[in-house]
Symmetry: C2
Subunit: 227 residues, 2 copies
């Protein structure tokens, strides 16, 4: 059973890569830099986004594609930011998948004002496994880890931590109240992804959010390809 | 592409149900009650288990099957409890799956001393989506939610919350430090799974663990089928 299943998964991943390249071509043609934002459920992706985008990103025009299994809670939370926000549900015609894939993102492209964007942030489904396996056509991957989750996560979900350019350690306001050893987390992270950029923040208090905002605001210029 | 994929998933789920029934037959023959323990990454499944099993379950002989994508960190943490603990990795021949399925559990059965157990707790991979879709042959499902994750999770991952007999709300020692509205969580939970049993606890401080322990210790008698 599993040999067949692995083969099917490989075929699906091949198909996904082809569609991801088509997405990437569309993004490049419009000069849009795309970020795939991932985390476990409840690590704080949406709250980080709310904080980072609250006062805009300078001259960078940002939009958000919200991925969820069901519902539009996260898109609703971002509505007050007056940015283009599009909700994408994996249970509407996509079998309730635990991750976004390139085809789902492709289905949302007509709803996105690509010509008016410099940066598109795609918030993936909360999950530390499968989202890392499916390219969407993105330029960069960010993951958010929370100090409430425990320091062992890089060792337990290595592909996720390995596939990101930036790891944001969120909820640092909780550090006095949880048994989270930041040095041990960095040590484990270094084992699976040496040299990866790490930023610490609290989306609740705003501490450290400026650094994340600067990184995101600089990304379109950093990844610019000749249009 | 997705129509084909959904068809494949349905076939896989049919095959899974068949194997789950075979597991269930084996468990029944040995008089073992089986719990499928699920949560998001870092919600505290292993710490809850450590606390609950620290002083045993009275006359109930318990064992643990630890599911992880990679590594044996959780099994190592439980080693001091002097219970049968078996580690099952989804990346060893199972394609790094984001969930356990009946076949993976079946592959671990020869390593488990079923004849010496009354209760087997299967700790699933940390994920709020796919684990809920795959029966393992269990008698009951428990999920652990953490107050650090946010109160909206029942609405965002309804299948998971709907499929469990018991919802454990963990990390209540963090309530003074997070924006988590317990009443709102219960209200959302009631929308997706009216009447489900809810227990609150802190695996860190031990508060509320006694109630969880009593529930687990009573489970074999409650689910006993004529052997």
């Amino acid at each position: 059973m599993h040999r067949v299943k692995v083969r099917v998964v490989e075929d699906a991943l091949d198909a996904n890569s082809t569609i991801a390249r088509a997405n990437r071509d569309d993004f490049d043609r419009h000069g849009v830099t795309v970020v795939n934002l991932m985390s476990a459920p409840g690590a704080g992706k949406t709250t980080v986004l709310e904080r980072v985008l609250a006062d805009g990103l300078g001259s960078v025009r940002a939009g958000v594609l919200e991925g969820d299994v069901q519902g539009s809670l996260d898109a609703d939370r971002l509505a007050h930011l007056h940015l283009p926000v599009v909700q994408l549900n994996t249970d509407s015609g996509f079998g309730g998948e635990c991750h976004l894939d390139a085809n789902m993102v492709r289905s949302a492209l007509p709803s996105l004002p690509l010509a008016d964007l410099d940066l598109l942030i795609v918030e993936n489904v909360g999950n530390l496994v499968c989202p890392a396996e499916f390219a969407l056509g993105e330029d960069a991957r960010i993951m958010v880890a929370s100090v409430a989750e425990g320091a062992d996560k890089p060792l337990k979900y290595p592909l996720m931590f390995r596939s990101c350019e930036l790891v944001i350690l969120n909820k640092i306001d909780l550090l006095p109240h949880v048994d989270f050893d930041v040095e041990r987390f960095r040590h484990y992270l270094d084992q699976v992804h040496p040299g990866v950029t790490v930023m610490t923040c609290s989306a609740r208090t705003g501490e450290g959010i400026g650094e994340v905002r600067d990184w995101l605001a600089a990304l379109p210029e950093r990844t610019a390809s000749p249009v």
